[in-house]
Structures are given as structure tokens and as C-alpha cells.
């Protein structure tokens, strides 16, 4: 048997109820019960060892790199908690069996409960603080699911979310704290951390680490000012409250304090923070408990109060205080679980939990009432019940601390007040519900529940008495070890019901009398408190979340207006911001390379280019003119390419330009051709500023590059083009050989674009103007005679030219791409001259297939080199000498180029023919020529 089973059994056991979803309820409950019982069996094997002062450990590696391993231990503190968790867990499962109605999904409930149990066990048994955190958050998640169990109720949903948010937040703080501690200690194993205790306390990061850990603990344990979530978690089914909010989850925070006591405690800061928080929480909780009309609300706040008490004890931190704290943990778990169950029984039987509607139930539910009185007395601290003993210890500790110097006296007084309030609300719980006159009408007529339902309460009540009477036999062994684990030194606990007449006893008496008085004066309190109504934490929380959400949405809408210009402006401004510093690093902009002389043609070209660019920008509202200006820009750019020794580029640019302008004119047909002024003056100003900056940056970069000396890899290309690539047109050889992969990518892009455009044009019903912008109807002749004739003549000629350009591309300017565009342009001319239908009749080419085949050919040419054991796209060429024909060159690059050619033709024609098809479909046919 293995310690890990105690955690893993409920974890995987959580699947059992789901697997037996179809089984009857008793079977489900039975199966579920098996799980904690099994765990108990495992546990008992280790109990003797632990009680003897050993610490059984187990470890499985998980993330050694991070220091997170599946390491568990079972020291006294763990044992105490494991016992509580499993023991009360068993009772709760049994209780829940009766509590849940037939409509409730029992499987889900048990499943979540077991999951929770597993995570809780994980926290208390973890030997690795990161692992502990893992389970810590798991309890948050599983408690979220449990609180939200009745998710159709809005209270349950909100309560669950609030609990999760608060404890989750604390958990995250805790993680940070744990990481810091781990870093200081040099590891996350508990022993490592304990060993480094002094180091940690002395470290500069001690304060943040402590605060972060405390944040985690306080949120989990609902300490002030994080107490607000707990009452709202009462929307959970009562078994959940009884389990989570009495015995287990809220105790996790306390456990954390206890666990880190050896590491973090015994400093001024710890004392101040923990003690004061505990004290305030105790008072605040008790006060609100008294005010609540809801039974579970009362219990919830009383839990807050008692947790504060424990917290305060841990803050005081002496050995006796620690013992008191641990003792009270047990006692509180017992009586509070029982009380919650009682409240659940009342609710279950009468249909309400509102104390204003309940009264005089004594006669109807005598057994329940008796049990309730026993456990309530324990809570109130009435002898001979266990609660009395731990309260006495507490009061004693409150008296004995001297940590606030001269002001220390106020602590015992406030402690007494807390005890007083505790008495008062305990009385209220009993008196209001079971006495206070005769039975009044409730939604259901109550009676005592089935025996098995009150059995857990009875058992717990019995324990309360038993511990009260014989504390040493019941718990001292356990407390010894637990306290030893907390304080880090061996402890011998002495407990007895009777201490003799002393100060704590007096305070107890004062508390009881005061409590009765307060209860009698409760109506004044209610009135006093009514003025604070409406300060509901849940609503506050919801409102805050909602408000934040709205604010965030608002903020985003303001930031992200869905305005493309804004996005673009952001990008451009980023460019400016990021680049200006680097450019300012340039000491001299010119790199010192001598400049070429300016000739007149270039000057004129520049003038035209600049003016055309300006015109394009300024005439953008008259779109057709803008296009013409753009085409001037394109033309001059291609001339510039020609001028600066790039004939291939010039040709490509020319033809591409023609095709793009045609595309744009085509598109313009479906667009407004003139638009009114849209942007405001300062927008234009802003845009001009941005544009000038970007232009300036680009110009500076360009100039700096142009004038700096340069050495590149290009010499290699020049040297190897002929010998290695078999062509003299170095640009082309680069394209089809040295960097053929780029070209393959580029034609792929073209093919994808064509496919994408096909997708775009699919099912598009465009807006088709029936007249031009001046309201003039269109000319009647669709295909002018002269145009059709010349286009027809030009097509075969263009093919010849294309073939020529294609074939010589390897050696002289040209190549597959330009050839493809030439053919495409000639075909486009045909489309313009003769129309889609005419073309369709005559050319049944599937452009899409043509395009795919083109890329395929290129790719397969590349693949062909594999046959020769060479990498993809390796080219091969040879010179053949055929009779008559003479010597000529054959290169695989030519095949590749053929692929490029076909792709270009296919893609371009696919784009245009699809475009044309789209409009023709919508156009009524009328007279041609």
C-alpha cells in the first residue's frame, strides 16, 4: 500500500459515480462511500508510525526540472487533517444520500465531492509546496463546481464564481509567494524549505513572500477583509457547506498558516498581520453571524469568526497557542459540520432556512432539536463540550500574549467580546428555531428526518461530548504530533476540562452572561444594522465585474474602433518610433561612395514619377484619374528598371502593370468612381505627417544604402551562371536555378491567389451600375469591330513573341514569367474585344487545371533531381549537337520555366475569366455587332 493512494483513490474514484450513472441511488452512494473508506484503510496503516513521531513519505517524479514532484508526507499535521477530511467526508456522503432530491444529479455531486476530497487530501499531504499549490487550486475548482451544483439558480452561479475568483486570486498570490520561498530555499520540498527557515526570514524578499502567502491563506479561510465570499457560497447544497465550509476547504488557509509556521512565523510582521487579522475577523464574523436571518448564513459567519479565532492563535504562535489552534480546528470541524447538517435537516424538512419564519420546531422535531442543542452548546463554548475547552485555551492565550506591549490588554477584552457574540448567535440558532413560541406555518410540515440522516449529526454530537469529557484519550496523541509538525519541536499536550477558577473561566462566564444579554437586545442590533442593508457582497462583486467588463469593452471600443486607418496608423507610428533611434545613430547619412551623375532623362523621369505619385495621392477621390496616374507611376518605374540595367524587371513590370491596371479598371466598374471628401482636415494633416515620416525614413535608408560601399554574394552568381546554371541571363538563372525555390513559392502564391479569387467571386452578386457616373447609359456596341479584328490578329503574334521570350529567357532578358504574362495579356485583350461567351466557345481550357499543372510541372521538375540523388530543384543542362539544327542547349531549368509559364497563364486567366463570368451572368444580352 502506498500513501499516494490516499490522494489518487478519490481522484480516480471521482469517475466511479459517473460510470455508475445508471445504477440506483443506494448503489451509487455505496460505491462512493467505498472510496474514502478505502482511503481510511490505507491511512490506518500509517497512523501508528506517524503517532510515533515518524514522517512517512512517498515520491513520484513529475517535473523534476521545475522542482515539482509528486511527493507526499504524513506528519502529525497532515494526519489530523486527513482524518478530518476522510472522516467527515464519509459522514457527508451518507448525509447527502438523504439530502439530495430525486431531481438532483447524484453522480455529478459525488464525483465533484470526491474530486474535492482528493484535492483537499493533496493539500494537506503534499511534501512539495508547488504540489500543495496544485491541489490548492484544485480545491478552488472543485469547490466552484460544488457551490455551483444547482447551476440553474443564479445565486449558486454567482456564489460559485465569487468564491472561485477570490480564492483563485489568493491562490495566484500564494503561488508567487511559494516560488519566492522556493527560490530562496533552493528547492520546493518541504524539508528543504524548513531547513532554510532562517535564511528565508532574513532574506530581502521575506516580506513580499510572507504577504503573498498570507493573501493566499486569508482568502481561502475567508479572513477579513476577504470574508465576503463565504456566506454566498452557502448557495451550495448543505452537504457541501457542511463539508467545505466547516471542516475542509476554509481550513486549508489555516492549514497553510500552520504548515508555514516553522518557516515564516515568529517575526514581528507575522504576529501583527496574522493576529490582528484573526482578531478582526473573529469579531466581524461573529457580529454578522448574529445579524443573519438565514440559518446557513449565520453558520457561515460563525465559521468566519471561528476561523479568525484559530488564525489569531496561530498568529500568537506560542506552543500553547498552536495546540489551542489545532485543538479548535478539530472541535470546530466537528460542531460546525453537525450544525450545518442540522440546518440542512431543518431546511430539508420545513422548506425554509429563514429564522424569521421558523419557530417552535421543538415539538415537531425533538431529536433534531436535542442534537442541535448539544452541538450549538459546543460552539458557544459551554462546558462540558469540547468547544469549551478550546475556547478556554484561547482566552488563556489571549491573556498571556504581550506582543503589543502596553496595548496588549485590549486583546483579551476583544476576545471576550468575540466569545460573547458567539454565545449570542448560538442561542439565537437554538432559540429562534426550536422555541420562541409555537410552530408557525412553513412551506413544508416538518418532522424528524429518517434516522440515518440524523445519524451523522448524532455521531458528531457524541464526539463533541466525548472529546469534552476525555480529551486526553481522544486527541492528545494526535495533537502532540500535529503541534510538533507546526512548531518544529516535540510537544506534549496536556488537556483537561477543568482548570480551576482562573481568569479564562471568569471571562467565559462573562461571555455567557454577556451573550445572553446581547441576544435579548438583538432587535436593537437588527435595527441598527438595517441602515447598512443593500451592501451585499455578491451584488457588489457582480457589479464590479460587470462594470469592469463594460469599462473594458468601452475601452476597447474606443481603442479598437474597427478602423483600419487606425490599425495602419499604429503600425506606421510603430515603425517611426522604432526606427528613428536607429537612424539617428547614423553619423553621416552618406556612405561616401561616389554618386553617379544625374542625366536629363532621369531627371525628367523623377519629376514625372514624383508628380504622378502626388497626383495619385491627391486625386484619389476621382478614381479613374487616380488609376491613370498609377499607371504612369508603373511605367516610369519600369523605365527606371530599364535605365538601371534591369531589362527583365522592366519587362515584367510593364506587363504586370498592364494586367493590374486592367484588373483595377474591372474592379472600378463595381465601385463608386468618385467619392466625396471623407476625412477631416486634421486627419489629413495627421496622415501627411505620418506619410512624410515614413517617406523620410525610407528615403534616408535608401540613400544611406546607395552611397555605402558594398560587397555581396552576387559575384558568385555572375561567376557561376554560365558554368553552373547553363545560362547567361544571370537574373533568370538565379530565378530558375540558384533561387528556384523562391520562384516555386512565388508561383504557388499566384496559384493560391487565383484559387482565393475564385472563392471570392463565388456566389457574388455584385453591384452593377447600368449607367456611368454622369448618368449616361452604356454604349450599345459591346465588341467594336476594329478591336476584335486586331485582337484576333495579335493573339498568334503574341504567342510567337511569347515563345521567343520564353526560349531566350535563360540567356537573354525574358523567361517563363514574362512569356506567360504576354500570352495572358493577349488573351485578356481577346476577352475585352470579344467577350466571355465568345472565348468560352473557342477555348475550352480549364484554367484552374492549367495553373495546377504548371505548379506541378515546376515541382515535379524539382523532384526529378531526386532520381539522381541530388537535392530538390537541382538543375541539369547539356549542350546537344543535332544535325541540321546545330548546337543547342537543353536545361531542366527550361522545364521549370515552363511550369512557371503555365502557372502564370493559368492563374491570370482564371482570375480574369472568373471576373468576366461573374458580370456576364447578370447582364441581359442585347445587340452585338
Amino acid at each position: 500500500m502506498n500513501l499516494l493512494f490516499i490522494i489518487f483513490a478519490p481522484f480516480f474514484g471521482a469517475l466511479l459515480p459517473l460510470l455508475f450513472k445508471q445504477a440506483s441511488r443506494p448503489i451509487k452512494t455505496g460505491i462512493t462511500l467505498l472510496v474514502p473508506l478505502f482511503c481510511l484503510v490505507v491511512l490506518f496503516q500509517y497512523v501508528p508510525a506517524t503517532l510515533a513521531g515518524e514522517v512517512p513519505k512517498q515520491m513520484v517524479e513529475w517535473l523534476p526540472g521545475v522542482g515539482l514532484d509528486f511527493a507526499v508526507r504524513l506528519d502529525g499535521l497532515s494526519l489530523l487533517f486527513v482524518g478530518l477530511i476522510l472522516g467527515i467526508g464519509v459522514l457527508i456522503i451518507g448525509y447527502a444520500h438523504y439530502y439530495l432530491s430525486s431531481n438532483d444529479d447524484e453522480s455529478r455531486f459525488y464525483s465533484c465531492l470526491l474530486l474535492f476530497m482528493s484535492s483537499m487530501l493533496g493539500i494537506v499531504m503534499a511534501d512539495n509546496i508547488l504540489l500543495m499549490w496544485v491541489f490548492w487550486e484544485l480545491t478552488s475548482i472543485s469547490s466552484f463546481l460544488l457551490i455551483g451544483y444547482w447551476f440553474h439558480s443564479s445565486d449558486a452561479r454567482r456564489g460559485a464564481r465569487m468564491a472561485l475568483a477570490t480564492t483563485g486570486a489568493g491562490g495566484l498570490a500564494l503561488l508567487a509567494g511559494l516560488l519566492i520561498i522556493g527560490h530562496i530555499a533552493g528547492g520546493y520540498q518541504l524539508d528543504t524549505v524548513f531547513a532554510a527557515a532562517e535564511q528565508i526570514k532574513a532574506h530581502a524578499y521575506y516580506v513580499p513572500a510572507l504577504i503573498l502567502v498570507l493573501l493566499g491563506a486569508f482568502t481561502k479561510s475567508a479572513q477579513f477583509p476577504f470574508q465576503f465570499w463565504l456566506p454566498h457560497a452557502m448557495a451550495a447544497p448543505t452537504p457541501v457547506s457542511a463539508y467545505l465550509h466547516s471542516a475542509t476547504m476554509v481550513k486549508a488557509g489555516i492549514f497553510l498558516l500552520a504548515r508555514f509556521h516553522p518557516v515564516l512565523a515568529e517575526t514581528e510582521l507575522w504576529f501583527t498581520l496574522v493576529t490582528l487579522t484573526g482578531l478582526i475577523t473573529m469579531l466581524v464574523g461573529a457580529y454578522f453571524a448574529l445579524l443573519k436571518h438565514d440559518l446557513k448564513g449565520l453558520l457561515a459567519f460563525s465559521t468566519v469568526s471561528h476561523l479568525g479565532l484559530i488564525c489569531m492563535l496561530l498568529g500568537i504562535g506560542t506552543q500553547a497557542a498552536v495546540i489551542a489552534a489545532l485543538f479548535h480546528i478539530i472541535n470546530h470541524a466537528l460542531f460546525k459540520a453537525a450544525l450545518f447538517m442540522t440546518a440542512g435537516i431543518i431546511d430539508h424538512e420545513s422548506g425554509t432556512r429563514d429564522m424569521r419564519k421558523l419557530q417552535g420546531l421543538m415539538s415537531l422535531m425533538p431529536i433534531t432539536a436535542t442534537l442541535a442543542m448539544i452541538v450549538a452548546a459546543s460552539m458557544a463554548g459551554i462546558p462540558p463540550f469540547n468547544g469549551f475547552m478550546s475556547k478556554e485555551l484561547f482566552l488563556d492565550q489571549a491573556l498571556q500574549q504581550h506582543l503589543f506591549g502596553g496595548l496588549s490588554w485590549f486583546i483579551p477584552i476583544l476576545a471576550t467580546v468575540g466569545a460573547m457574540l458567539s454565545v449570542a448567535y448560538s442561542i439565537r440558532f437554538i432559540h429562534d428555531v426550536f422555541f420562541n413560541g409555537d410552530y408557525k406555518e412553513t412551506p413544508k410540515k416538518p418532522h424528524d428526518p429518517p434516522r440515518m440522516m440524523s445519524a451523522p449529526v448524532a455521531l458528531l454530537g457524541f464526539l463533541c461530548i466525548a472529546i469534552g469529557i476525555a480529551p486526553m484519550t481522544m486527541v492528545s496523541g494526535l495533537l502532540d504530533q500535529a503541534a510538533a509538525a507546526v512548531t518544529g519541536s516535540p510537544v506534549e499536550v496536556k488537556l483537561s476540562l477543568w482548570h480551576g477558577f482562573n481568569m479564562p473561566l471568569l471571562m467565559s462566564v462573562v461571555a455567557v452572561i454577556g451573550g445572553i444579554l446581547i441576544y435579548l437586545a438583538r432587535d436593537q442590533l437588527f435595527t441598527f444594522n438595517r441602515q447598512f442593508d443593500g451592501q451585499d457582497a455578491k451584488h457588489n462583486f457582480e457589479r464590479i465585474v460587470q462594470k469592469t467588463s463594460d469599462a473594458a469593452a468601452n475601452f476597447y471600443e474606443r481603442l479598437d474602433t474597427g478602423s483600419l486607418q487606425r490599425y495602419i496608423a499604429f503600425v506606421l507610428i510603430s515603425v517611426i518610433v522604432v526606427l528613428l533611434p536607429s537612424l539617428s545613430d547614423l553619423s553621416v547619412v552618406t556612405g561616401g561612395k561616389p554618386q553617379l551623375p544625374v542625366d536629363m532623362v532621369s531627371m525628367v523621369g523623377a519629376i514625372i514619377l514624383i508628380s504622378a505619385a502626388f497626383a495619385t495621392a491627391t486625386l484619389h477621390r476621382n478614381r479613374f484619374v487616380m488609376l491613370m496616374m498609377l499607371s504612369v507611376v508603373g511605367l516610369v518605374v519600369s523605365l527606371a528598371f530599364a535605365h538601371f540595367s534591369a531589362p527583365d524587371l522592366a519587362m515584367t513590370q510593364l506587363v504586370v502593370e498592364v494586367v493590374s491596371i486592367i484588373l483595377m479598371i474591372l474592379a472600378l466598374f463595381f465601385m463608386p468612381q468618385k467619392t466625396s471628401r471623407a476625412s477631416s482636415g486634421h486627419r489629413v494633416f495627421r496622415d501627411i505627417i505620418i506619410a512624410s515620416f515614413i517617406g523620410g525614413i525610407v528615403a534616408t535608408l535608401n540613400f544611406a544604402i546607395l552611397t555605402s560601399p558594398f560587397e555581396s554574394i552576387s559575384d558568385f552568381f555572375l561567376a557561376n551562371a554560365k558554368s553552373g546554371g547553363g545560362g547567361t541571363n544571370v537574373v533568370n538563372v538565379i530565378l530558375v536555378d540558384f533561387r528556384g525555390f523562391d520562384t516555386l513559392g512565388e508561383i504557388t502564391v499566384l496559384a493560391i491567389a487565383a484559387a482565393g479569387i475564385h472563392k471570392l467571386l463565388n456566389k457574388l452578386k455584385p453591384f452593377m451600375p447600368s449607367s456611368d457616373i454622369d448618368g449616361r447609359p452604356w454604349h450599345r456596341i459591346r465588341h467594336p469591330l476594329m478591336l476584335t479584328t486586331v485582337a484576333n490578329i495579335l493573339l498568334p503574334m503574341a504567342m510567337v513573341v511569347a515563345a521567343y521570350i520564353f526560349l531566350r529567357g535563360h540567356n537573354l532578358p525574358g523567361g517563363g514569367f514574362i512569356a506567360g504574362l504576354i500570352v495572358a495579356s493577349a488573351m485578356i485583350l481577346q476577352y475585352i474585344a470579344n467577350g466571355v461567351d465568345w472565348m468560352k466557345e473557342r477555348f475550352s481550357v480549364n484554367y484552374q487545371s492549367l495553373m495546377s499543372f504548371g505548379v506541378l510541372i515546376a515541382a515535379l521538375t524539382g523532384l526529378g533531381s531526386w532520381l539522381f540523388g541530388k537535392p530538390f530543384l537541382t538543375s541539369w543542362f547539356t549542350y546537344l549537337d543535332w544535325p541540321v539544327v546545330g548546337k543547342f542547349e537543353f536545361a531542366t531549368a527550361l522545364l521549370f520555366d515552363l511550369g512557371v509559364f503555365l502557372t502564370v497563364v493559368g492563374a491570370t486567366m482564371m482570375i480574369l475569366s472568373n471576373f468576366g463570368k461573374m458580370t456576364t451572368r447578370h447582364r441581359p444580352t442585347h445587340e452585338g455587332h
Partner: protein, 113 residues
């Protein structure tokens, strides 16, 4: 010459950027196209300017840098594909949305409605 060249490229860029910042799809697409011209000129010039040195092996002693030319060729083709796609996207947007303005008219975003 280099000064003239870079100033021209800069102005071309600035004008395209101005167009790209307009609110309607057509000028933006035209701006993008023009920007691609400017960028091509820029990229081309990274091999430095050479006159009368077309990189045809065996025709002269000094050649222009052929690599940027090849890069620009690739860039032109890709730019063409992109222009084609974006212009037709603009047409489609105009066809379906009914306006060629690139922004939503109301300020709320779809996901948040």
C-alpha cells in the same frame, strides 16, 4: 543620381502611405500597389545603381548586381497576386456590404454585439 533616386523613392512611399491611410478600399488598394512599386525600387537599389550593366553574362566587364533584380522579380509577382486578391476582395466587400468604406459605420464590434 543616388540622391534623386532615394528622394523619389521616399516621396513615392509617402504618397502611397497617404493613400493607404484613406478610408475607402479602392484608394487603399491603389496605395498598396504604389507602395509595392516604391518597395520594389528600394529593394532593387540595394544592389546599388548601375547604368549600362545589364547582368547578361559575357556582354561587358561590370554588371549590375543580379540578385536584387531576381528578388524584385519575385516581389513583383507576389505583389501582383496580392494586388489582384485585394482588389477583388474590395469588389466583393462592396458587393456584399454595399459600401466600399473599409470601416464599420457603427462603433461597436461584431463580436460584442
Amino acid at each position: 543620381m543616388e540622391t534623386l533616386y532615394s528622394v523619389t523613392v521616399g516621396i513615392l512611399t509617402a504618397c502611397s502611405v497617404f493613400l493607404i491611410l484613406r478610408g475607402r478600399s479602392f484608394p487603399v488598394v491603389v496605395g498598396i500597389t504604389m507602395l509595392s512599386y516604391a518597395v520594389n525600387l528600394f529593394l532593387f537599389s540595394t544592389g546599388r545603381l548601375t547604368i549600362d550593366g545589364a547582368p547578361i553574362y559575357g556582354t561587358q566587364e561590370t554588371y549590375a548586381d543580379p540578385l536584387p533584380q531576381a528578388l524584385v522579380l519575385t516581389a513583383i509577382v507576389i505583389g501582383f497576386a496580392m494586388t489582384a486578391y485585394s482588389i477583388i476582395l474590395a469588389v466583393r466587400a462592396r458587393g456584399e456590404i454595399g459600401t466600399d468604406e473599409v470601416n464599420q459605420q457603427d462603433n461597436s464590434t461584431e463580436g460584442n454585439r
